[in-house]
Symmetry: D2
Subunit: 356 residues, 4 copies
């Protein structure tokens, strides 16, 4: 039997980092992951580093002897000392943007969960205001980085050393739209709208007025209207123009899960059976996308705590107006689960390994 | 000082009925309302009447001496005996459809909270499958009934004896769209979409698999896609064709509140200031609609437990793509509060009386 | 008609402060309250004052013309300029401890919502670690301050100029226990236990890891076991020894409301009817306490959004083991509502004025 | 490798049944379980059988090809035909009471999740009002049945063919109290109190007024005070007299999880270290109980979605008053997980098999 892969997770105390730690510690092909937290040096955004808890504690009880892992401060020498081969970055995009050039030059493989390396087009990248120390290397890596949506880009992912793991919202929107768009069935002149809703863990672990329980409970609101960062990924992956697509995120009073309600006008009248075939054929053999029967729509509960993206649809009587609904767990298929799915592809393993 | 108006609430144990009872019992112009529950005779849908609790108990503690009102079985003689002048029907539409002809012929004024008398066009009414005993009278009353949205129809409401109180979703959608549509600013060829979300009290008090706590909590789902009953009201009030409008309701894991995210394409490029003026001018002097500044969007918490409908918007950089967001409390501006607002108009009182 | 009382609320952007602002702005006896926020000078705990929003915005929409009040920075001259007679302090205890001597010396009446002036006994006060600038004045005021629980101390409150508004937990526990304890029915040798549960607004508006939505939702936990600050108030008001009483607070995943389950052993066998009489007689004529019939227990929903404290009980078959359950809204009867009830008493008005 | 065990789950559409189906379908030692639903014949309580959905659908999406299992109507011949060896009953107690004698006489092993076979003493059983067709056999089986709490009764469970799986509340209370009680450290004269709180799935899947989302959300309440069925189990397993123990269940507004706050007076003054040793020694080598360090208390989130029972404690300064807090997932360690743990013992497998 082959030696187990040595991995590290930087940002192991955040929500996605915790899920990664949990999955990797049970994955049959990986050794127990090295868990790391950011330090002042790794955190270009904060002059004074915030104190981070030194244990992966969020939902883990503070007791020893039960898989309660220690989280160490990040340094390249620690990575080297542990023989790490694959580095997962569950870090803010500015941190990822800074660390990846070093990581790649040191021969590490990287799966980055931030938005740092997802975008090829400058116009979409502008919103992140990257400050690259070495502009040329950054440009080269931007070109090399593969957008890690396995159902679309498996071939490239397999041979990549730098995978940019997609955004949670973006995954739910792209997977729902790709089959119909790529088949040329959508009337782009009428525009596509994704009205998306996410649980609060998508907003991160930092306590803010916005994530305070009393602000969220019994409430619901839209945010980042006409300006959410995930819009660029969606446009790039689906080859859409910004005038053809509206994306509106909303905050749901639940801990986790995303549902996107997507409005599409078809070029010509179609039957539900045809839509169904289009979706099913596209995802034939894809383990982590479930296509629902016509008019049976996914709900958030169906996919939470799994790596599935569920896709359903309803077609109007006129055969032209189509509503797609897609659901996923923002921390799994929308983050850590998909990152492991990418790792599985990168190392030639079954895409489902460790994700059941 | 004038004698206080004598009112009755049929369906006083449901969510809207309870709110009506609460508001009317404190309203300065009305006597303590007569609270009534349905009996086998008033309930054409159930051969065998369900046992209803004999007290308006939902959120009221079961104690005497603190406004804990008795709920009596409905009969016309009880109404007469109490000298009731205005009857609120918080009943299923089939019950309202059956009782209203009798109520009107007995000289009562009626505010009906169901969908029984809201629709003028047969095509929209079909979904309700009304079985009118006296088809001619039903047709006459259908014609006479006034759609009780005070911000649009105050004049008619003032002289009406039969007011059809709007649906909760419909109120949120119509109020957001009316100013722009009536000003002719919307490109109807591109279609209007309302992606609406409601708390669970909108689904009524009947315990079902769908309203079970475990089904709703940590979940979110779309329902009645391309087939919700409120669609007809919206089309009629806004003079839209069914091909021009998509309405998608969703169930939020909160007790009350509605938020509608509404997508509109404008005929020509506009500024946010112009949109703002259009909305503010339309609702100038209207106490119960609050127009928000550009890009400041209402949230459900702002209007819950009030009679306000809050309206905000965000305009894309292209000045053509517009998102309207409207919020209200489905049991107040979406039901009982609006019913009292209609009563205030019918009797010539200030629209805000009893609703602060 | 008498001139309206001029009041001010310091800490008007916190949860209790917002409720006070809301109640006072509709109270028939008070002018529109002056809303104030803390500044660096008023905040002995923070060297650098946190930026506070300049509007009472929590649940108020950010729009003008609808009662959206401006919040001004605190200063004594502002108070004087507005002719303020009564000052409500919705401030941390250290701030209240510092400001009250000045306020009293300037001839203001004060209702303080913090724990600064509730305790007479040094042993109970120690937990707050007060740093009094003028020890003698502080001691005098500590003596003069009246514990503002109207159902117990109405007489003293009426003639007081410094009322220490009780803690939310303490109110729920003291009101449930006082009738039986004062009647000498409780076997103190066996000990009294209050297992209490509170919604999250009780923990204040400051965003912390503890109040993050993802930490609270789907969770439940005990905290401050054997060490909660409200314990001292309960002991003092009920004349209990610390060995006779255990108080355990828990955090409920709801925005507001407290339920205390209180375990008592009776000295001798009693009937439910006797318990009921004891409670009802004690609270005869007390508007804001509702005593439930035997074995009918209050729930949090019954009293939330009201100023009621609801009390119920269940007696074991042996007639000796008694469980009391009391509920209230921590921001109303547990804070702002009770503060207004105290004001009503201080100015000789009906206890219920402005609280319906 | 040995042939896989053939199991069946009756009641596979309920919450516990669904969890059992999920665990067994992935258990390395069991074949895919036969999923069964009750029929009119198996349901002594209902003259007319309620329509049950024919798929294990609660949280499973209604799609084929993804482990969406068919649920068949129960019959003995179906069991025989599939060669079932072990039958899990996730059924109401009256159904279990009726079916078990037949099942045992047909040579099946049974793990019953209801209260039908948990109690040896007639006084505790009375509350269930069993109507045994064959009184003698029922009495024999009552005697033979083993209370399936593995941490206490592993020896008996290993050789049993009829295991009565404990109640969810009872598991949380017994596991917390057993170490101290069995060590003789508790002052029984002062009484033990368990103030327990459970999520809504503990109330079952039947939609009722009590489980309606609007009744539960933003609410909290006590129920079955001095009369909950689990009290008998706790008394029997801990050899307590009913006068020595009070058990008060409450309904939490969360889908799943139990927290019990347990109040104990110690016979003599002790240190936290001694309490800790007592608990740790008792559970040494017990995989599914986690003992927390002194004053570090478990929260519901720590154990939900796991088979752990977490136990923590806090000791008062006097060394006599002790608060124990225990948490578990009511559907796993409180039901389906524990049932599988019992199966593992019955068949000589590792207790943790299939439960990671």
């Amino acid at each position: 039997m082959a030696a187990k892969l040595k991995t590290a997770v930087l940002g192991a105390t955040g929500y996605s980092g915790l899920e990664l730690a949990r999955i990797l510690s049970r994955h049959p092909r990986t050794a127990s992951p090295l868990l790391l937290r950011r330090t002042a040096e790794t955190d270009p955004e904060s002059a004074e580093p915030r104190k981070k808890s030194a244990t992966a504690s969020a939902a883990s009880p503070p007791i020893s002897g039960n898989g309660h892992a220690h989280v160490e401060p990040f340094s390249w020498s620690t990575l080297k000392q542990h023989g790490v081969e694959l580095l997962f970055l569950a870090t803010p995009h500015a941190v990822s943007r800074e660390l990846v050039p070093d990581a790649i030059s040191r021969g590490l493989c990287v799966v980055d969960l931030s938005g740092a390396w997802r975008l090829k087009q400058e116009e979409h990248r502008a919103i992140y205001r990257f400050k690259d120390a070495d502009v040329k290397t950054a440009a080269e890596l931007t070109e090399r980085a593969v957008y890690g949506l396995p159902e679309l880009n498996a071939g490239q992912i397999k041979s990549s050393t730098l995978v940019a793991n997609p955004g949670c919202y973006a995954t739910s929107v792209i997977l729902a739209l790709a089959p119909l768009l790529f088949a040329g069935l959508v009337d782009l002149n009428r525009g596509i709208i994704s009205d998306s809703k996410s649980g609060v863990s998508g907003a991160g672990k930092e306590p803010t007025a916005r994530t305070h329980f009393v602000s969220v409970a019994d409430n619901f609101s839209a945010y980042s209207v006409f300006g959410h960062r995930h819009t660029g990924e969606i446009l790039e992956q689906l080859a859409l123009d910004s005038s053809q697509f509206i994306f509106t995120p909303h905050l749901l009073p639940i801990p986790r899960g995303i549902l996107s309600t997507i409005y599409v006008y078809l070029k010509r009248k179609m039957t539900a059976a045809k839509i169904q075939s289009c979706l099913q054929d596209f995802y034939a053999g894809k383990k982590w996308v479930r296509v629902f029967p016509a008019s049976t729509l996914p709900e958030i509960q169906f996919s939470v705590h799994t790596n599935y993206c569920d896709i359903g649809f309803s077609l109007a009587d006129d055969g032209r107006r189509l509503i797609l609904v897609s659901c996923l767990d923002n921390l799994l298929k929308g983050a850590a689960g998909q990152a492991v799915q990418n790792m599985n592809l990168m190392y030639g393993w079954d895409e489902a390994e460790g994700l059941q």
